[in-house]
Amino acid sequence: MNVLIPSQLRDYTGGRAHVEARGATLAGLLADLERRYPGIRFRMIDEQDAIRRHIRIFVNQQQARDLGAALAANDEVVIVGALSGG
């Protein structure tokens, strides 16, 4: 599925805003992103598997609250990161 990466994490994706990744759940998708772009998951998810407070993840425009959210192959995932400075 298509995943939109926020600008502050595009160093991990070679500058690409849109990337392809797979997963039956949000946890699976993030694991796949981590395999493709090592280090990117910890920037979004803390060591207790909580979504970091400055990160929002939307699946088909609905906010996902935890990593157990189910995903389908055609879902659109948008990751948004808060930037400092308003």
Binding site: Q8, D11, P38, G39, F42, R43, D46, E47, Q48, D49, A50
Partner: protein, 350 residues
């Protein structure tokens, strides 16, 4: 007052240009000098807005339990000289981590992080500590023994381990904690900066939220060396800098610790204070600094010394200025301005 006992031979002064590493809220800068330390060149920023890739992390909590999450890495200290590649990291919320591969991977020091007393020492996870959050810092490794460690926590106090961090004991006797309701508490103090002199490892200095202290081990009771500071200036501040070859010489940079704690130079007149006798007497050093309306704030990691002779002393302000003295504080010169908020200033390869 006895002179500090020197455990090792005094190192020769360094020579050649100095490279300053300046850590800011928005990235890292280098400032390089010529041989005479008269001319300085700024380069950077590096890592603008970026975060390192393999930071320390607390272990995942068991199901149903609440685990800790590293908010940020606050402090880094190289390990003992016999352990190349070893580093310690202090994080917020207060936690201690160790790397044995130069910082590529990190392991929690469970003797502290999982210590049942940790939560008691730091006053609960809700304790906010300083504005950036409660944090573990001032990691000091005894140059005679890699197992012997000291740490400072804001808030929590000073702690000592003799077994590489497996067990810890509070080391706060004599230190004021006048923000606590308890008189002479065993822990809960607010260490701002604590440094052990590598040439006299039984000598510890501490800049605390409640004054400046000195401790000569195996003594247990800190002595308030800040009592010798002028009353109008007080003994509140953040950094504390040691002379690389004289354990009795140190610098501080006092802040206004008045009723509302503005944390700026008292009366808008910035100055360092130096002691040449282990904190018994202090002398003001303000030549070259603004004579008035200079409202500097200098954070605990934003002041340092080089190893030249005479020693160069450096500090950075939260308003993005870097100042240096090539004369051990006798005269100050501005070497960089308009940087982002400065968190740390360190001499490379001292």
């Amino acid at each position: 007052m006895p002179k500090a006992k020197t455990a090792n031979g005094t190192p020769r002064p360094a020579s050649g240009p100095v490279t300053l590493l300046v850590g800011t809220r928005k990235g890292a800068f280098f400032i390089r000098s010529d041989r005479a330390r008269r001319s300085w060149t700024l380069a950077g920023p590096h890592f603008l807005g970026n975060i390192v890739n393999h930071p320390p992390a607390f272990p995942k909590a068991a199901p149903g339990e609440k685990g800790l999450s590293v908010e940020h890495v606050f402090w880094l200290t190289p390990g003992h000289s016999s352990e190349p590649g070893a580093w310690y990291a202090g994080v917020s919320p207060p936690g201690l981590f160790r790397s044995d591969d130069g910082g590529v991977t990190w392991e929690g020091v469970s003797g502290f992080n999982a210590n049942p007393m940790r939560i008691v020492w730091i006053g609960g996870e809700q304790e906010q500590g300083p504005p950036g959050g409660a944090t573990l810092h001032s990691i000091n490794v005894d140059p005679r023994d890699p197992r012997h460690l000291y740490i400072g926590i804001s808030v929590g106090g000073a702690f000592e381990s003799s077994d590489r961090g497996e067990t810890w004991r509070p080391l706060n006797q004599g230190v004021a904690a006048d923000f606590l309701p308890v008189k002479d508490p065993e822990y809960g103090h607010d260490v701002h900066c604590m440094r052990l002199h590598p040439l006299a490892p039984d000598r510890l200095y501490q800049q605390n939220h409640c004054g400046m202290y000195r401790l000569d081990r195996p003594g247990e009771r800190w002595e308030r060396m800040g009592n010798a500071m002028p009353k109008a200036i007080g003994d509140i501040g953040f950094p504390l800098v040691l002379h690389p070859r004289d354990p009795d010489t140190l610098w501080v940079f006092p802040m206004d610790g008045g009723t509302v704690w503005p944390r700026v130079s008292p009366d808008g007149k910035p100055a360092a204070y130096v002691s040449r006798d282990g904190g018994r007497n202090w002398r003001r050093q303000d030549k070259g600094l603004p004579a008035k309306q200079g409202w500097f704030t200098v954070k605990r990691q934003a002041m340092c010394a080089d190893a030249r002779d005479p020693v160069g002393v450096y500090f950075g302000t939260t308003s993005g200025e870097v100042w240096m003295s090539a004369s051990e504080g006798e005269r100050w010169t501005s070497i960089a301005r308009h940087l982002p908020e400065i968190y740390s200033v360190e001499v490379a390869g001292r």
